[in-house]
């Protein structure tokens, strides 16, 4: 029997990265709302996924020269992919991925300025493993569902961001507009809500927000940390075209340089609590969790935005709203998202299998599909939805399916076991283990035809070894598997 479309699986695909056989077993007797509660209250689950790295029961990593995910970007990528496959807190990783796209920061530019080890630290360091502040992705993980205002303040102070959008070079005499512009255009309310004069003023607001290098010259112990450099702060007043204060005042007052950091706090607070920021975040989360095909109605957007504003910019208010919404639960909206390459490969690994499979293998395919972690194409993030799907990108997905299926061939043969008696039973086995959107009858019969292409079904070892890999690649590489 083909695996039926259940609310639990829908939830795990959207609020996580899909379900392995073990996940399905674990949730067998749990209701959809129980699983939702489990996913949302992830703080109750231990954050212990990193301790499983190296355990042969889990996907493996490639740690040539010793695994150092705080200093080596390829290792940092593996650690994050490993977490996505195995975390008991899938929503946390899913949100970290959301923020990684929202505050899209790319490693290469930082590495060119600060070196690879420091850049990796800024992107991904765990502060309990190395001295210095936590890396950007750990920041996203730790504040994933909290206050957006607080997250935005931390992002403005984040060493990776201060390198990425050149905040560290922003000076009183000649302000640098990169961060000042993008914090409005991309991180908060979006284009159409500010003008060029706002960009100048915003750049002046963040003068003095800078970095210092601690323990220079010693790679293991040196790190960048945020400082407010009062000498470089522009103390003059800054006037905007929109209200900065709740009384409607549009001007940040002139302040002594020692108090100058308050400019940025006031400004970020204004942006985070702006109704159009609320709306924009609600819209992005609709696309991320509910549908990229169906438009949200006005009431839904307004309700989600108002939940966010009423809770003092709590991100969880929007996430809860979306995952609990009728639209989310409506089966008509299932399978209406285009999976991101990372979502796709992680789900495929969870479903096809990972015994003896290294997450480092995902590196090349992900790049060809158009998504290298810690390397978004620009500050606008990735081109989502149909944007992922070009002929080259789709070919890369089909080829990744072939690679994974070949790698897991023997495990799949073993798993098929007694279901090898006929093409139908083999197909049913695979449609139960994997989770493509339903194939229509004609596509299903093509899969059966394939199993007997080149010779009638005998179930011989040779035939099985060939056809399980071929069938798995066809299912995982099909269009039906790409939509979640």
């Amino acid at each position: 029997m083909a695996r039926s479309e259940t609310g639990v699986e829908h939830l795990l695909r959207r609020a996580g990265f899909g379900a392995s056989q073990d996940d399905l077993k674990a949730f067998e007797d749990t209701s959809t709302s129980g699983v939702l509660q489990y996913l949302l209250d992830y703080e109750r689950q231990p954050d212990d996924v990193d301790s499983k790295i190296g355990d042969p029961a889990y996907a493996s990593i490639n740690a040539g020269g010793g695994f150092s995910p705080n200093l080596n970007i390829e290792h940092a990528r593996q650690r994050w992919l490993f977490r996505m496959v195995h975390s008991r807190r899938p929503l946390q990783e899913k949100m970290a991925l959301f923020w990684h796209n929202h505050f899209a920061t790319a490693y290469t530019k930082i590495a060119a300025a600060a070196g690879g080890a420091q850049a990796t630290r800024m992107m991904a360091s765990r502060s309990d493993e190395l001295p210095g502040p936590q890396g950007q992705i750990e920041l996203f993980r730790s504040m994933a569902l909290g206050s957006f205002r607080d997250l935005l303040i931390e992002v403005a102070k984040d060493p990776a961001m201060l390198f990425w959008l050149d905040g560290r070079l922003n000076t009183r005499q000649r302000p640098q507009e990169n961060f000042g512009r993008e914090v409005m255009e991309l991180f908060t309310f979006g284009i159409g809500h500010y003008n060029e004069f706002d960009v100048y003023a915003a750049s002046r607001v963040f003068t003095g927000w800078n970095l210092r290098l601690v323990n220079r010259g010693n790679d293991a112990n040196s790190y960048y940390e945020f400082i407010f450099n009062a000498n470089q702060h522009d103390t003059g007043e800054k006037t905007f075209s929109f209200p900065v204060y709740s009384n409607g005042n549009r001007t940040i007052p002139a302040r002594a340089s020692s108090d100058g950091m308050q400019d940025g706090i006031d400004f970020i607070t204004a942006l985070a609590t702006h109704p159009d920021t609320a709306r924009r975040l609600a819209r992005k989360m609709w696309d991320y969790f509910v549908s990229e095909v169906v438009e949200p109605d006005e009431t839904t957007l307004r309700a989600a935005a108002s939940a966010y504003l009423q809770t003092g910019t709590r991100i969880e208010s929007i996430v809860h709203f979306m995952l609990r919404s009728r639209e989310f639960q409506n089966p008509g909206n299932w399978r209406t998202r285009f999976s991101w390459p990372v979502e796709y490969v992680v789900r495929a690994v969870k479903e096809v299998g990972w015994a003896g499979f290294s997450v480092d293998t995902l590196r090349g395919p992900l790049t060809t599909m158009g998504q290298t972690l810690f390397e978004p194409p620009d500050v606008n993030g990735w081109e989502l939805g149909p944007g992922w799907f070009t002929t080259g990108g789709m070919l890369a997905r089909m080829n990744f399916a072939a690679q994974l299926a070949g790698n897991q061939r023997l495990n799949l043969v073993r798993a098929v076991g007694g279901s090898a008696s006929s093409p139908e039973s083999v197909l049913d086995f695979f449609l139960d283990r994997l989770s493509p959107a339903p194939f229509d009858q004609s596509a299903r019969s093509e899969l059966l035809t394939y199993l007997e292409a080149g010779g009638a079904w005998t179930g011989s070892d040779t035939q099985l070894r060939t056809k399980v890999a071929g069938l798995a690649r066809l299912i995982v590489g099909a269009g039906e598997y790409q939509i979640v």
Binding site: L169, M394, L395, A437
Partner: protein, 418 residues
């Protein structure tokens, strides 16, 4: 709420899938007509090119006073003469190959191209250049609309990027994204013979009509597009060129384009992109540094491409058109970089190009009444509407009717670059 690309594709899906259902012979006709005919190669500089350091007004004292760190010294520029206003101009010193092509009369430089109220946003700016529509940049692309006007074929357009740019977006034509022909193969976990069985099955599954699932139809359309182009692209994969191309993504993409032209795949429009132009900081002094490297990549890659096509005897049927989403501010900022500005230069290169300098350089005096500047003298004001250049290329190179494609008549005053 702006319309996203996704909204657009949602609306266009039906038409999109129909184009793949067209009888195979139509594609063959298209191929026969397209083969060995003219092609357009767009070279897009992503991030907003600092055009004042590409084509340098090296006798303007304000160029030096407003760019104390990053100005290219007058003694280093590659002189290319003066424009119609008598302003002396020089190419960036790393563009030696382009200077040679300019001297042969095969490089056209159009100064101060842009549009009224230039967007300083990368994303809106690139969408405006992509759609050729400053007032609604969420429509189809200008090249996508051109491809709708010629016989349909799965390889009539070719983006060498992973994302297909807005300019090539169409409701009827799906343009493939193929950065390097060498990786564009259908892999199998089994023997080659079994791989053919898999390919046949995958192709048939993707070609089933997805009833009431337009987004699935869209995804399947990209798979079908891959199957329709695999064999032709494979013929390009072995192409090494008659010259040594530099070893970087930009040059490899150009070599791929050259291979496609040489093999006669019939592609009419190519899109090549090179990034890193968002030079907010430390863009380099004395013509060197980060911006110098960008110019080296650009100039060396284009020169290799030009020489390769000349050796192949295909130069006169190839037109390269270069632009970026905006120029940058005139004055450098405090971090020896430049922030987002307005007008910039476009260039055209090829065997049929009427080379030379079109338009006039800005005067960089930060006087509020300086008519060549805008935004209180901080940015360069456009002189030639970029759509006039598009119109010239559409009408005189591609043989199309530009008013229909551009949604307006921009032919008047178009620089006669081809």
């Amino acid at each position: 709420m702006p319309v996203t690309r996704r909204d657009f594709i949602r609306g266009g899906v039906a038409a999109f899938t129909v184009s793949f259902a067209a009888p195979a012979f139509l594609s063959d006709i298209a191929r026969a007509q397209g083969a060995r005919s003219r092609s357009l190669v767009v070279v897009y500089l992503g991030g907003g090119n600092d055009a004042l350091n590409t084509v340098v007004p090296y006798q303007d004292q304000f160029y030096y006073s407003r760019r104390p760190t990053i100005a290219v010294p007058a003694g280093q520029v590659l002189q290319i003469g003066t424009d119609s206003g008598g302003r002396a101009l020089g190419l960036h010193p790393r563009l030696t190959g382009l200077q040679g092509i300019f001297n042969e009369g095969r490089l056209a430089i159009v100064q101060r191209t842009g549009y009224q109220n230039s967007s300083r946003s990368h994303f809106q700016g690139s969408d405006i250049w992509g759609t050729a529509n400053p007032s609604n940049s969420t429509t189809t692309g200008w090249l996508g609309r051109y491809l709708e006007s010629v016989p349909k074929d799965a390889l009539s357009g070719w983006a060498t990027t992973r994302e297909v740019p807005r300019a090539l977006l169409s409701k009827e034509v799906s343009v493939p994204g193929i950065p390097d022909a060498r990786g564009y193969v259908f892999a199998t976990p089994n023997t080659a013979a079994e791989g053919l069985n898999e390919r046949a099955a995958a192709q048939r599954i993707a070609s089933h009509v997805a009833v009431d699932r337009p987004h699935l139809a869209f995804v399947n359309g990209t798979a079908t597009g891959a199957f329709d182009t695999l064999d032709r692209v494979a013929s390009v994969a072995a192409y090494n060129g008659t010259v040594a191309y530099p070893n970087n993504g930009f040059a490899i993409a150009l070599r791929t384009v050259a291979g496609s032209i040489v093999r006669g795949t019939g592609t009419r429009v190519y899109w090549v992109q090179t990034g890193g132009y968002d030079t907010h900081a430390t863009q380099g002094a004395q013509g060197g540094g980060a911006y110098g490297n960008l110019m080296g990549t650009l100039g060396d890659g284009l020169a290799a491409f030009y020489n390769d096509l000349r050796n192949q005897g295909l130069l006169s049927q190839t037109l390269v058109l270069q632009f970026s989403e905006f120029g940058r501010r005139i004055a450098e900022n405090g971090s020896a970089g430049t922030d987002h500005g307005a007008a910039a230069v476009m260039m055209a290169m090829g065997g049929s190009v009427r080379g030379g300098i079109y338009g006039t350089a800005p005067l960089l005096n930060p006087d509020l009444n300086n008519p060549t500047l805008e935004n209180n003298g901080t940015d360069v004001r456009y002189e030639t509407d970029f759509r006039a250049v598009y119109a010239r290329v559409l009408d005189n190179w591609l043989g199309a009717a530009s008013p229909a494609i551009l949604g307006g008549d921009f032919r008047t005053g178009a620089p006669p670059i081809v």
